[in-house]
């Protein structure tokens, strides 16, 4: 399934070919569909679905003979009129035709045409199409035929992969059945493009277990219609098992079937081209597959391909009805690897002592262990060769693993190939001591080789290496053990209040700041403030009381209240003080003006 969806994408990317089905029924799914339809039925509807459904799948069902009376026939004929629903018309027409009774086709056509305009939904029109497939070919079915195209326009395209009605799977499957039934009946190709047919295949066959008997029935009908009609037969191509070829299994096997998983034995399957994915060189051109027991086979190893991935373009021909008959396939050629020329040596860093190489053969282990301390390097070189062709390989995974048997520690390095595909690995003891945590001891050396195209991945204990490190600071336990222990608690430091000056200083300055008030009082007394002129009128007293109260309110605000409360009290006191003060000042003003006038009068008189 993955393969086909990936090749759908590759098909879109290359743009050369049309869609290929990404969802189809496998043989097991078809068997499941039959099982669902074979369940025992309890009512007429289920009986209809089961019998007709199994019939479509090619499973024979016992015939039943039903005697028909004249009244029944007249009743059925009368049901064909503009007043019955399309479903009623369909039921009566299909009953009449399966009983072999004559129909008035033109009447049916006119009834259907008028009903279609009234019942505009998908199910109804599909039933109309199905009804028309039972009618005589002399009747004028072109109007109803046009409905196929109109309905097809109503299909929703989901992501370019699926094409289905929003009413769901059943409606789509029934539409496909009806459209092909009618098209076959009038021998006119349905107005569905190849891409649309494949998208319909994806939609209908993407569901592998069905909710109801009617859904299973609709899928069975659609499968039968798509595998056996005169115009479009979608081809399903899939590899039998993984698409892998090797010396042991040199045959590439393909299943080429229709949607019901019946092999298309009359078709011819040809590889149009096969090229390597990495080098893009073509290996095959127009090679045919041979048919054996319903499976199409090709011996790919005859072309001596190197290991790797190959892109196949396969074409299925032989029938003009075939749809989606050009397929892209990715085939893997795998092989076995063998390690040759494995040389191990301990080299002195200053190159003073000559290297002594030991050759080791797979799968044995070197007899002596190698000792390397901080002045020496341990070196290893080898080649990886394809056992069948002798070609040097560069697999994806070539690792050298050193495992300390005592502490369980392991360190893994990568061996890199040079330009001549000779793998080299060097361990500089002093440089790498951090990876080893400077723990000296005996390490078992393993070579790990792996790749997707290798059939025999290798894990080989090559030798034992004794590493000696300077400054052994071996920690007693491995670091990781303390990773999941609760960490030390973090104590939160609350914000410390700011430092205040000593109380003596504060008090001194308070006194200092308040002292000018005394000075003010002294000055006022000296200047002879006019306290004797204090009138004891009520407004005056009230004003002073109110003013004093306001000052008191300020103090209370500082100590107890908030702004809203203060504003409330201030409004009350303020208005009171204002009224009293206004009165008082008015009186004062009157007095002042009277005094001014009298002094002016006196001045005037004295002047005269």
């Amino acid at each position: 399934m993955c393969l086909l969806s990936s090749l759908v994408l590759s098909g879109l990317v290359l743009g050369a070919h049309a869609l290929t089905p990404s969802h189809h029924l496998a043989a097991s799914d078809v068997a499941r569909l039959e099982a669902v339809l074979s369940q025992s039925f309890t009512d007429l509807q289920s009986a209809y679905y089961s019998i007709v459904g199994l019939n479509k799948l090619g499973v024979s069902v016992a015939d039943t003979d039903i005697p028909v009376s004249n009244e029944t026939r007249d009743f059925l004929l009368a049901a064909v009129s503009e007043d019955s629903t399309i479903s009623q018309i369909h039921n009566s027409v299909s009953t009449l035709s399966s009983l072999g009774l004559p129909l008035a086709s033109q009447e049916v056509v006119s009834a259907l045409t008028s009903r279609i305009t009234k019942e505009d939904n998908v199910y109804a029109i599909t039933l109309a199409l199905q009804t028309a497939a039972h009618l005589s070919q002399q009747a004028d079915l072109s109007g109803i035929l046009e409905e196929i195209e109109d309905l097809a326009a109503r299909l929703d395209d989901l992501g370019g992969v699926y094409l289905q009605f929003e009413e769901g799977l059943e409606a789509t499957a029934l539409f496909v059945t009806a459209a092909y039934a009618l098209s076959d009946h009038v021998d006119m190709e349905p107005p569905l493009k190849e891409d649309q047919v494949i998208q319909l295949v994806n939609s209908i066959f993407s569901k592998k277990s069905w909710d109801s008997l009617s859904e299973a029935f609709s899928v069975a009908c659609a499968a039968a219609a798509l595998s056996n009609n005169r115009f479009h037969v979608p081809v399903i191509v899939s590899a039998l098992g993984p698409a892998t070829v090797s010396h042991r299994q040199p045959l590439l096997q393909l299943q080429v079937t229709n949607v019901l998983c019946d092999p298309l034995t009359s078709a011819s399957v040809v590889v149009e081209s096969a090229s390597s994915v990495t080098t893009k060189s073509a290996i095959l051109n127009q090679s045919p597959f041979s048919l054996r027991d319903g499976i199409f086979e090709l011996n790919f190893m005859n072309s001596q391909p190197a290991s790797g991935y190959y892109q196949f373009a396969v074409a299925v021909t032989g029938d003009s009805r075939l749809v989606a008959n050009h397929i892209e396939l990715k085939v893997k050629v795998s092989t076995e690897v063998v390690i040759s020329n494995m040389d191990l040596s301990v080299v002195d860093k200053d190159q003073s002592i000559g290297t002594k190489t030991t050759r080791v053969d797979y799968p044995s282990k070197a007899k002596n262990s190698f000792v390397a301390d901080s002045h020496q390097n341990f070196a290893m070189s080898f080649q990886l060769v394809d056992v069948n062709t002798g070609v040097e390989l560069t697999p994806h995974q070539t690792f050298v693993r050193l495992h300390n048997q005592k502490t369980g520690q392991e360190v893994v390095f990568v061996a890199e190939p040079d330009s001549k595909n000779l793998y080299k690995f060097e361990l500089d003891t002093a440089e790498r001591k951090s990876e080893f945590d400077s723990i000296s001891g005996t390490y078992a050396l393993y070579l790990i080789v792996g790749d997707a195209t290798l059939e025999n991945p290798i894990l080989w204990n090559v030798a034992d290496v004794v590493l000696k490190f300077l400054d052994e600071e071996a920690p007693a336990t491995v670091q990781t053990k303390t990773l999941y222990v609760p960490k030390p608690e973090i104590k939160h430091l609350f914000r410390e209040p700011e430092k205040r000056p000593p109380t003596v200083v504060s008090n001194t300055f308070t006194a200092l700041v308040l002292s000018p008030f005394l000075l003010l009082l002294i000055l006022w007394i000296k200047l002879g403030a006019n306290i004797s002129n204090f009138s004891f009128s009520p407004s005056c007293i009230l004003f002073h009381v109110g003013h004093a109260a306001m000052l008191g309110l300020m103090y209370v605000y500082w100590t107890h209240l908030n702004m809203f409360q203060t504003l409330k009290y201030l409004a009350i006191l303020g208005s009171f003080t204002f009224l009293a003060g206004n009165r008082m000042l008015a009186q004062k003003a009157v007095k002042r003006i009277a005094a001014e006038q009298s002094s002016r009068l006196a001045k005037y008189r004295s002047l005269r």
């Binding site: 700011e498 430092k499 205040r500 000056p501 200083v505 300055f509 200092l512 700041v513 002292s515 000018p516 008030f517 000075l519 003010l520 000055l523 006022w524 200047l527 002879g528 403030a529 006019n530 003013h547 306001m550 300020m554 605000y557 500082w558 702004m563 203060t566 201030l570 303020g574 003060g581 206004n582 000042l585 008015a586 004062k588 003003a589 002042r592």
Partner: protein, 113 residues
């Protein structure tokens, strides 16, 4: 230089004591009081530090604001300036002074913390 400065100051003080009406002298005494209070607050801030800064600001602004309002009052009740303030009687000036002071001290007490 110092001698002339001293003579200017003594002359100024003499004229001030003689020509200024009593009412204005009272207001001037009040102004001096406000000035000293503000100066002492500033001195504390310089010497001891700005903690708590909001209190210092509110006290200082109170002094500055009161000083300004008192100066306004003095200008308005000065008989020399009667021509400039025909619509504002001394009583009205005093009432304005009281109202403005109330608003100022409301804000000051809010900010003093």
């Amino acid at each position: 230089m110092a001698a002339s400065l001293f003579s200017v100051i003594s002359r100024f003080l003499e004229e001030y004591t003689n020509t200024t009406p009593n009412k204005l002298k009272l207001v001037d005494a009040y102004l001096l009081y406000i000035l000293l209070t503000g100066a002492f607050q500033f001195l504390y801030c310089l010497l001891v530090g700005t903690f708590p800064f909001n209190s210092f600001l509110s006290g200082f602004i109170s002094c500055v604001g009161s000083f300004i309002l008192a100066v306004c009052l003095r200008i308005q009740i000065n008989p020399h300036n009667k021509g400039d303030f025909l619509t504002v009687s001394p009583e009205r000036a005093f009432a304005d002074f009281l109202f403005a002071n109330t608003v100022l001290h409301l804000v000051v007490v809010n900010f003093i913390g």
